[in-house]
């Protein structure tokens, strides 16, 4: 209690004063941002001093270079970068170069997409694709690259459609990420309710770091908001309208013209149908014999007649009661439709494909019904199909529909006139209705003098500069992405928690003061000593010391599957640098798509060498390689992916055909560029690990090179082919080492 009198406190006080004064200077003088990280550092040194910790030393240049490249762009530094770093070190310039790289947005966009559960398909069993979803993904990447103010970034995703600028609705694709259950028999209103619940849960998690999933169903003692309050949040989103798609503003004229064309065709077809209808009636009449004796005299029909039974029944039991008037053959020479006349009624018996069981039973044909689905209707469709003029119109229509579907568009929401009143679902059970509530903020969030009544207001509240909780969560998330541990960690001891929070609060204050620029924040953290420390764990430390001293060292973690794939493609020299565009469907292992409704149509060619963030994300058909590396399932928001080790993952790393092809290319590049084995080994290490091998490592590599050489010479003989084969073996080893797969 009296400790402020002792020396430590005095030093601390002095340090704080320095920090405050430095900050004040920065704020007033608009001096270059490059100096601000110092305040973070002094805060952290203070914390470490208080806990009597010695921070770890600085990471080596190579380690740091690789770390910052992977963290900011998800790619490796080049050999030139490594060599330049050895001769002259300008970390600040490197960081600025990486921050302005278009790959920065790809890397951080990917992290954000995890948080908002982005995917290119609906989810659930049917899991239809969403061809325009990628527009939102591209917007996120562009927003990070443009260093969009975090408030704008927030507001546009929740209410971009309400700004009056058509294209600003693209970011509301965020609200369209919710999974959509289109399975047969699902109540559309209930499915919508589930989407709304997912939206609110995702907003709570992505912007406030709160798991609201429990509050959906009941008042949870450990949850900060009640079920009624959760439903109040749903009410903000209640009026949203989810159109099939929105067409870009510069495409509206094209769309209108095509729609006009389509309308003209519809009219033309209607006219033709009216003419044909008369002919059809006469045609049917001519082929209908007089009604015969009533069915009652016949053996009762069984309900489970199959194809065979039906034919037998036709000839043996009811012989003479019906006549076949025509057989229409469809493509592939398969009997598609037999038209029969049965005691005066017309029956159509479609047997598409070979699925006899799907055919109508004979007794379905007994009544001459009208209306959709009736036999007469089916017969009419067949009749129409025989008319060349009508067929021409239909083909034309299909062409126009195809053209309309390719007009650039995106997924967005708009505001409908639905009343923003939502009913509480008791215990989360959709069928049990509780009280009806209007939009309002939960009590614990009402710290600002704003009480929004609609979605726009809610978005403004969330995006507000004064909403410190939102900024705090974002800063903490960015920090975790760069240092591997959050600044606010509820499970640590109270002392450490208090100290960490102090660092967090200071960082948040400065983030807000600097116009909530994400790039400023990332730059500040990356340039701090804390970021640049070594990640090597000292085994002499006790477990408790390790836990508390996290501010004094870096963490190491395994690369995500996207980075593993991108890095391998980068080394092969085939990675495409283009940013943005439609999602790419790589080939999948044979039989892999058997469990889904839609067949996976893989693409071919150079497109496949795009960065992993552009890989098509189908929820029910997650990329097997990425899945082995802990790709989230696309069902809920993920702030930081889990890191696992498994045999399946090892198999993916070793045997993925895509990665193997890239590895071989990398090997042939190494073989072509250098002659000496030692020079080759050095190049490989510099390219993958941004450092030179130790003598022990070089020895292991030389040994395995010889072993591979011996194994392959049996087949390949000597020469460059054998060289490349042996080197493919070595490159495959290096890529699968712990360091190759780890961001250190």
């Amino acid at each position: 209690m009296l400790s402020w009198m002792d020396g430590t406190s005095c030093r601390r006080l002095a340090a704080t004063l320095v920090v405050v004064s430095v900050c004040a200077c920065l704020a007033s003088a608009q001096s270059p941002a490059s100096r601000e990280y110092r305040s973070v550092d002094s805060m952290i040194s203070e914390v470490l001093a208080e806990q009597e910790m010695t921070p770890a030393g600085k990471a080596s240049r190579g380690e740091l270079l690789r770390r910052v490249h992977l963290d900011l762009t998800g790619l490796l530094p080049s050999v030139e970068d490594c060599e330049a770093a050895e001769s002259g070190w300008n970390f600040e310039r490197t960081v600025d170069r990486l921050l302005s790289s278009p790959h920065f947005g790809e890397r951080w966009g990917q992290h954000w997409l995890d948080l908002v559960v982005y995917a290119d398909s609906d989810g659930f069993a049917y899991d239809a694709t969403r061809p325009a979803a990628w527009r939102y993904r591209d917007w996120v990447i562009a927003a990070f690259n443009a260093d969009m103010e975090f408030g704008d970034f927030t507001f546009l995703q929740l209410a971009g459609d309400l700004t009056g600028v058509h294209q600003e609705a693209i970011p509301t694709g965020f609200l369209r990420n919710a999974r959509d259950n289109k399975d047969g028999g699902v109540d559309p209103e209930e499915a919508r309710h589930r989407r709304q619940v997912e939206r609110v849960t995702t907003i709570g998690f992505a912007w406030l770091g709160q798991k609201l999933a429990c509050a959906e169903c009941h008042d949870h003692p450990e949850e900060s908001i009640s079920q009624a309050e959760f439903t109040q949040l749903l009410a903000y989103l209640e009026p949203i309208d989810e159109a099939e798609r929105a067409v870009d503003s510069d495409q509206q004229a094209t769309l209108l013209q095509q729609q006009r064309e389509r309308h003209r065709l519809v009219r033309k077809m209607a006219d033709r149908e009216a003419t044909l209808k008369e002919g059809f009636a006469a045609w049917v009449h001519k082929r209908t014999p007089e009604p015969r004796s009533p069915m009652a005299t016949q053996e009762p029909l069984r309900q489970d007649y199959g194809t065979e039974d039906w034919w037998r029944a036709g000839t043996a039991v009811f012989g003479g009661l019906f006549t076949i008037v025509g057989i229409v053959l469809r493509s592939r020479g398969m009997l598609a439709c037999a038209m029969v006349v049965w005691t005066g009624a017309i029956g159509v018996w479609p047997t598409f494909g070979t699925d006899a069981a799907a055919a109508s039973r004979p007794d379905d044909m007994l009544g001459e019904k009208e209306g959709p689905g009736s036999d007469r209707e089916k017969l009419w469709k067949e009749y129409l199909g025989c008319d060349p003029q009508h067929r021409f119109c239909r083909a034309e229509m299909a062409r126009i529909d195809a053209r309309i579907s390719t007009i650039p568009s995106f997924l967005a929401v708009s505001e409908s006139d639905r009343h923003p009143i939502v009913t509480v679902r008791v215990n989360g059970n959709y069928e049990v209705l509780g009280e009806r509530v209007r939009p309002a903020l939960p009590e614990v969030w009402e710290d600002l003098a704003i009480s929004p009544t609609d979605r726009k207001g809610f978005a403004e509240w969330l995006a507000s500069r004064d909403n410190i909780a939102v900024s705090r969560h974002f800063v903490n998330w960015v920090w975790t992405r760069l240092l591997g541990e959050p600044l606010s960690n509820d499970e640590s001891d109270p002392d450490a928690r208090r100290l960490r929070r102090r660092v967090l609060h200071r960082l948040v204050d400065e983030f807000v003061r600097h116009g909530r620029s994400p790039k400023w924040l990332i730059r500040t953290i990356v340039l701090s000593d804390a970021y640049q420390r070594s990640s090597v764990e000292r085994s002499s430390e006790s477990d408790a010391a390790k836990r508390r001293s996290f501010l004094g060292r870096q963490n190491r973690w395994r690369l995500d599957g996207e980075a593993v794939r991108d890095v391998t493609l980068q080394l092969s020299g085939t990675l495409l640098p283009e940013v943005g565009g439609e999602s790419v469907r790589p080939p999948l292992p044979p039989g892999f798509d058997d469990v889904t409704y839609e067949t996976w149509k893989p693409q071919t060619g150079a497109l496949l060498n795009r960065r992993s963030v552009y890989l098509f994300k189908k929820r029910s058909l997650a990329n097997p390689f990425l899945t082995a590396f802990d790709l989230p399932a696309g069902t809920e928001a993920v702030a930081v992916r889990p890191e696992t080790n498994s045999a399946t993952q090892a198999l993916a790393g070793l045997n993925s055909p895509e990665l193997f092809d890239a590895t071989r290319l990398w090997a042939s590049r190494i073989v072509e560029s250098r002659r000496e084995p030692s020079a080759r080994i050095e190049t490989a290490f510099l390219q993958l690990l941004a450092r030179r091998p130790t003598s022990a490592e070089a020895r292991v590599v030389r040994e395995s090179l010889e072993r591979f050489g011996a194994l392959f010479s049996v087949h390949a003989g000597a020469g460059q082919g054998a060289d490349v084969a042996a080197w493919t073996g070595v490159c495959r080893v290096l890529l699968n080492t712990d360091e190759g797969l780890t961001r250190n």
């Binding site: 069981a357 409704y597 080790n645 055909p657 591979f708 712990d738």
Partner: protein
């Protein structure tokens, strides 16, 4: 049961430490790939405490009224409306406002075995194993849509990413095998509507995740080394990775490095074991014929059954067989017949084979769907001509066989229309609790933390169904 649980906890606690990881790694290192039992050798008879489970999941909701549930009232009152009192406020998936008319079955039923279990003519082989089955008529579930109901049956929760029952079992029983996955998912029948969240490990360790064995013969999409890189080359690769990791481990002292090396060695062993596992050519002829591998109708499901037996024989803990499609809104009479033909003989052979090899003493077999089907018929186009049955959640059956099961017992009574249980009704959480109990686990003790809160497969209020247990 509690002892099991505590032992598990203790194991988890120590294994997370660096020392344990390194020790485990060293123990694995140098250990030759275990030779698997050959068909000619005597089969391993498992100790009763080492239990495995084969969960046969008939996807889509099979029609109990055409397979097991003999309800004469349905045939007598075919075409009449079901009493309104039963269906007041009932929500259906497809049946709308039309009159709810009773749909009779075309099937003959007979009594089999000492219990006199009624089975329809559609399951002529399985009915011969009636003495091995414990049958419950009266399960009910909360959900009547496929995905939600499948999740509820397979994970105990109809939403979110909860651990599947196989993951819970693995978590509870610990790792058994080192060469093959401990939890395997096989599927057969139509390509269809289920997704990997039915065998997900949720918040449990990732080793508890089910490994999907595709329609082909692959244990994992990456089981094959690139051409020219298998055998000795793969071996040399994994050795070199381990050697470089060793150096790195000495420099950094990070235990995860040893863990990674162990994963690579496990991968290499898995690659060696996989071809033998899926190679069924050396099985005797009566086995090949019994599982119906030579008949195109039974081949798919028969192969799943045979692989399931081979997996549990090699120590695999949990095998889920998905078979689809049993969602018969149309042509229920012909379609159920078709599907029943696909599963009947292989299932009977599986039960007989487990018995003959002694594996039945350590293996629990269960068979059910995500829900049952309605006693009322439906016809989407024409309500006058009932063709199929809708989803039904209030009463549906399951059967169990094998280790610890009260073979020959029949549990529960439903009303004359099979609409709801009259006696012995059990929510499927009771079914989960029973299954865990059969595998030596206590559903109240088997819990794991996620987001600081404890979670269980079956909540505390779940009750083991004593009549199903010997």
């Amino acid at each position: 049961m509690n002892v099991q649980h505590l032992r598990r906890r203790f194991f988890l606690g120590t294994a997370s430490g660096l020392g344990a990881v390194v020790a485990a790694w060293l123990a694995l290192k140098g250990q030759a790939s275990r030779k698997l039992p050959d068909e000619q050798q005597p089969r391993r008879v498992a100790k009763p405490t080492e239990r495995s489970c084969i969960f046969v999941f008939l996807v889509g909701g099979p029609s109990q009224f055409d397979l097991y549930e003999n309800k004469p009232a349905l045939s007598h009152r075919h075409g009449e409306e079901l009493p309104v009192s039963l269906i007041h406020n009932e929500r259906f998936s497809f049946i709308g406002k039309e009159p709810k008319k009773i749909l009779g079955t075309k099937r003959e039923f007979r009594r089999y075995g000492q219990s006199g279990l009624e089975v329809s003519e559609l399951l002529p082989h399985l009915s011969g194993r009636a003495n091995q089955l414990a049958y419950i008529r009266s399960l009910y579930t909360d959900e009547f849509e496929h995905h939600a109901a499948q999740l509820l049956m397979q994970t105990g929760a109809s939403r979110g990413r909860s651990p599947s029952i196989g993951s819970w079992v693995l978590y509870g029983l610990g790792q058994e095998t080192r060469d093959i996955p401990d939890y395997v998912v096989l599927w057969s029948g139509e390509s269809l509507s289920f997704s990997s969240d039915l065998w997900d490990q949720g918040f449990l360790p990732s080793r508890c995740k089910g490994v999907l064995l595709g329609s082909g013969t692959k244990l994992s999409p990456f089981i094959d080394s690139p051409i020219g890189f298998s055998g000795e080359v793969q071996d040399a690769t994994v050795r070199s990775v381990a050697a470089l990791n060793d150096i790195r481990y000495r420099d950094t002292g990070d235990g995860r490095i040893a863990e990674r090396t162990a994963a690579y060695e496990a991968a290499a062993r898995l690659q060696l074991a996989a071809p033998e596992l899926v190679n069924t050519f050396r099985e005797p002829k009566h086995i090949i014929d019994g599982y119906g591998l030579n008949d195109p109708v039974t081949r798919g499901f028969g192969r799943s059954c045979l692989l399931a037996r081979r997996l549990v024989e090699r120590g695999c803990r949990f095998v889920t067989l998905f078979h689809s499609n049993w969602d018969h809104h149309r042509n229920v009479h012909t379609e159920v017949e078709r599907r029943a033909k696909e599963i009947d003989r292989p299932l009977a052979t599986l039960l007989a084979d487990l018995e003959a090899t002694g594996l039945a003493a350590s293996t629990v077999v269960v068979c059910t769907g995500e829900f049952g089907r309605t006693p009322v018929g439906q016809n989407v186009l024409d309500p006058a001509h009932l063709q199929g049955r809708d989803h039904h959640r209030h009463a549906f059956p399951a059967w169990l066989a094998g280790a610890g099961v009260a073979a020959g017992n029949v549990v529960g009574i439903t009303d004359e229309f099979g609409w709801r249980p009259v006696e012995g009704g059990h929510h499927i959480r009771d079914f989960h609790a029973t299954l865990l109990a059969l595998l030596g686990l206590d559903h109240r003790a088997l819990e794991a933390e996620s987001s600081g809160r404890p979670f269980q497969l079956a909540s505390d209020e779940a009750q083991v169904i004593p009549e199903l247990m010997a």
